[in-house]
Amino acid sequence: MRMMPPEFMVKISDSCIKCKRCINECSFGALRFENDRVVADHDKCAACHRCTAFCPAHAITVEKFPAIFKDNYLWSQDVLKSLWKQSESGAKILTGAGNDKPYPVFWDKMLLDACQVTNPSIDPLREPMELRTYLGKKPDKLEFWQDKKGDIKLTTVMEPQIKLETPIIFAGMSYGAVSLNVQLILAGAARELGTIMNTGEGGLPQELSEYKDHIVVQCASGRFGINLSYLNSCAAIEIKIGQGAKPGIGGHLPGEKVTEEISRTRRIPSGTDAISPAPHHDIYSIEDLRQLIYALKEATRYKKPVGVKIAAVHNVAAIASGVVRAGADMITIDGFRGGTGAAPQVIRDHVGIPIELALARVDEQLRREGIRHMASIIASGGIRQSADVLKAIALGADAVAIGTAALVSMGCHLCQKCHTGLCAWGIATQKPELIKRLNVEEGIKRLVNMIKAWNLEIKEILGALGVNSIESLRGSRERLRGVDMDEVYLDVLGIKPAGR
């Protein structure tokens, strides 16, 4: 029995010239040609706007389906639809992209400072303005040796570091969840920008090997595609414990997405489910995490920094402290708004905490324990724009990782259908005819442009703040003020209210 009205409605106006372009473009099969005109199956429309972008006559529009239910704040249409879907299928609801629920966005409740008179702002266009950032474990102090001539030599042995020319890196997105072209764009852009991308847990496609100095390879619970050459083909290794969009649960790439190519990089037979267990079965506690961190260091002869990625959960500060003490060189905290290729909706929408609060607490905790230098903090999960980057850095992040924002630059329209594998923009799909829609050269150019624009904006703000290198903002919460927040949140964020 059909219960749900469609979510969207596709309208085709009289100016249609019947070129059928839209029909070809729609990967969800919502459009067909019948009786000499384009006919839409509204139920199938995902509002991905591929058709509207490509219609030469601007004849096609997507609107919300005007189904008015009796107003009910509690029993919203979303809730009803989910219940009906579950009644039909008996299954848990799967979804893609990130949490879209109206939880508060703390980035939008923090404002940055600027200089006026008492200290000067700096002109970023003409004076040096430094964004260079090194990720990795730092000693708490340095030792030098001075020879008779007065020349100075560093005697402290430094741990391996990743050098970044911008504090923005690309978040882990696996081959399988996204197409090869997406990874090629991320890798190409990372190389051009002097930053890094992250393979996610799907192994390292051979095509990426030339970018190895700009790649972080992941070691997740599924251990897909992990062998010694994988572990040595990278700038760093990341142990993935969790992900903001689905803390505490594993992953699961359904067999139909395990194509021949995916099977090659994950090194499992094609067509079988690729299951990432919820925990790593060699990590049941913090000392086991230490064991795996050092196993990876041993396997790479201590030449690669080893990071750990965790989801932002309630007790994140204490967990992060444990992770750092376990020997992680970097810790990535992924907030509850982080994206995903596929996650159960109940988890995506209801588990975890905002990255802003998690980041603030983690930085503070590590400082309080005097171990902040032992690991770099990378914040991710809902970073949308340069202002968010600056605020994250002022709260204490060494760098931020962006996933969704990078995909948006490539064409993602946030239709949240990633889990279907039908992404019309060639991003979250393994279908060759869809993947080729995403042009690698153009994608690199767009992503490089976007980050360059962010870099310019970041420099602009640093100049206004009167500092000429990013480390002078890093952790400087004095330069942030909160609006529209109660005292408890100000306290958690460690910032003052605006006006004080």
């Binding site: 067999g255 499992i268 079988t272 489910d273 267990p277 079965h281 060699d282 064991q291």
Partner: protein, 245 residues
């Protein structure tokens, strides 16, 4: 070559092993080993390590090629994510042996702890093999995605069952052979228990022969005389029906 591990921490010991191997040494006796982790981890040459003592966890993790003989028992995570080579344990092994191994062989004369062989994977001609002479703890072969696990149940107390509970839950590839058989209620619901035909028995035998060779056991025919059952996944997609789109 011989390295005395007494008093060395794992980093020093492994540094020496790696140095020796890169200098072309092909066989190393490690004596007085006591708890040092990561022995053989990350080694990618066909060298032989003979360990006298009790090596620490993650023995041979991520390794690709070496032969490791342990004259004693091993601890946890033996052969973690290993990619090639052999590990031969003359005593017992701890928990999570052979986690995610994708090639190579592990022979354990005695028993293994919980979660042995979980998430083993095979790909094309790469097929990991683990043979256990004693018994296995719970969750044997959980999430198993490929490879062969052979459980012989020879070296164990009469009254102990050959394997624990929840055998092969979530199994979606590979095969587990159990000498003597298992109770249906010990096995995960996604798993089929079937008889072993003669052709397959010959395959098992060749692995058992290798096992016996390593440990100087001569009664191969005795061992093979008992019946075997095999555990197989019912589907390569155990969780296909859990999600609504």
């Amino acid at each position: 070559m011989k390295i005395d591990a007494k008093g060395l921490n794992y980093r020093e010991l492994n540094e020496r092993i790696h140095d020796a191997v890169s200098n072309g040494v092909e066989e190393i006796d490690l004596v007085n080993v006591l708890g040092q982790r990561y022995i053989g981890t990350g080694l990618d040459r066909e060298v032989t390590l003979n360990i006298y003592g009790t090596p620490g966890s993650d023995l041979g993790a991520f390794m690709d090629g070496p032969i490791i003989n342990v004259f004693g028992s091993g601890q946890d995570d033996i052969g973690n994510t290993m990619n090639g080579g052999s590990i031969i344990i003359h005593g017992d092994a701890g928990n999570v042996a052979g986690l995610s191994m994708r090639t190579g062989k592990i022979f354990i004369k005695g028993s293994v702890g919980y979660r042995a062989g979980i998430h083993m994977k095979a790909y094309q001609d790469q097929c990991p093999v683990m043979v256990v002479g004693g018994r296995a703890g719970d969750f044997l072969g959980e999430y198993m995605a490929g490879g062969k696990l052979i459980l012989l149940g020879i070296f164990k107390k009469e009254k102990d069952p050959v394997a624990g509970r929840y055998i092969a839950t979530g199994m979606h590839g590979g095969v587990i052979y159990v000498r003597g058989g298992v109770n249906k209620n010990q096995v995960g619901k996604d798993v089929a228990v079937e008889e072993v035909d003669n052709e397959e028995k010959a395959e098992i035998k060749s692995e058992v022969e290798e096992f016996c060779r390593h440990f100087g056991i001569t009664r191969i025919d005795d061992i093979m005389a008992s019946p075997f059952v095999k555990l197989l996944p019912k589907s390569s997609r155990p969780y296909g029906k859990l999600y609504a789109y």
